[in-house]
Assembly symmetry: C2
Homo-oligomer: 273 residues x 2
Amino acid sequence: MAAARRDGRWIGFVPTMGALHVAHISLIEAAKRDDTFVVVSIFVNPTQFGPNEDFKNYPRDETADLVTCRRANVDLVFIPPVEEMYPPESATAVHVSRLTETLCGVGRPGHFDGVTTVVTKLLNIVQPDSAYFGQKDAQQLAVIRRMVRDLNMPIEILDCPTVREADGLAVSSRNVCLNKSQREQATCLYRALNEAKTLIKSGQTDGVAVVDAMRQIIEDADQTSIEYISVVDPASMQPVKRIERRVLIALAARIGKTRLIDNLQVDPRSRLG
Amino acid sequence: MAAARRDGRWIGFVPTMGALHVAHISLIEAAKRDDTFVVVSIFVNPTQFGPNEDFKNYPRDETADLVTCRRANVDLVFIPPVEEMYPPESATAVHVSRLTETLCGVGRPGHFDGVTTVVTKLLNIVQPDSAYFGQKDAQQLAVIRRMVRDLNMPIEILDCPTVREADGLAVSSRNVCLNKSQREQATCLYRALNEAKTLIKSGQTDGVAVVDAMRQIIEDADQTSIEYISVVDPASMQPVKRIERRVLIALAARIGKTRLIDNLQVDPRSRLG
């Protein structure tokens, strides 16, 4: 990497928790298109999982991930051991307030501190010019953008569209945890998001009405339990009551025991997105 | 600076709150000796002052500071405005736990969060190879070292000895706040530290006995009130009961209304420091 830097190459960074899938590959391809020296990190970060969450059972397949990276022409893969990232004496955390207090921040206290701290560490280790994140983790993306701006990190944060299966389910490492019937039910999330979009595009400005319609669709599916459905400002992540400009519709739900999130941005004033 | 970097110069950084004095100059000279392109920042950081502290009255003299920097052959002076460092939407803080919970951390809640956050910002803006801090702010130095290590910042933290007046008083921007009689009384701080050193060197291993002897000296002086006197581990800042290896003797006291801090490292096993 030092050589790439000396040669004036830009460094593009794709931080991941492994279990790489087509959505990760789309991030790698975006970094490739930007003609960067592409670094992928694989690190299942313990500090962003709560005590009752799925850190132990989070899908891991390092061998397959390395094959994926090779095929995608990744230039460097960084797989740090947990004890090197968090020696016992470490005592520092990066905290973003406000943006982290809604949506996933409510049900996963401490989650975003884990994310912002590990991303800061990884960015300082890799020292990329640009880093690539998926729009699927919309709140994470907003929090990281805020952090990078607030801490004056000399890095461009780029986002890539959510990659979806043919039936609309957002690609996620956790999708492998769904059994066949759960996988079928899981399409309700994207259907609910699309219903929200349809309502807003046809003039519905009442956030509560939009959420209610979405709730109906998800509750009608089997084995689902909703954690949240919210209409928020895409930058501040604060709830929006009257939908008059671009909003983020975000949701988290369990299908069986598997927690999935998804979101869609909708602008009532635009004929497109 | 971009040119200096292109020329392969190392960047040496001296972050200050201005009101520059000989101790700051000693940091600048250290950076010069290391043959770096020397950047000095002048920023009285509001977030490291408590609501009842002396942010408003902290000594400021930008004109004199610029003259001092010119005379010391500083290559670049960075004086950011407060509103650029902290736009209203900023929401990110860097927090170091444990090390910040003793000594000055007790009487100044939030102080070190202000320090670590602004230092992170300044380090990301300046992107130095090395940054220089005074040993006088021993806890700040330990906290920043911890932070830089924990967050994997690619920067060397270097420390310089406390600069003292002829009578031993540690040089500080706040010394100008002392009137003549307070200035005389203020020497009790260094006398107390020296008494601690003498006691430890002559075999005293009881931290409480050392602190008591120091307390006596400071209380015997007029217009003094002690905030803390502690014997701590120089890396962890945690109290030490039995003095068997190198310790940091640290104190904070008010002389009149002016809060001063000072410290000394003592190693009972060494014939030197």
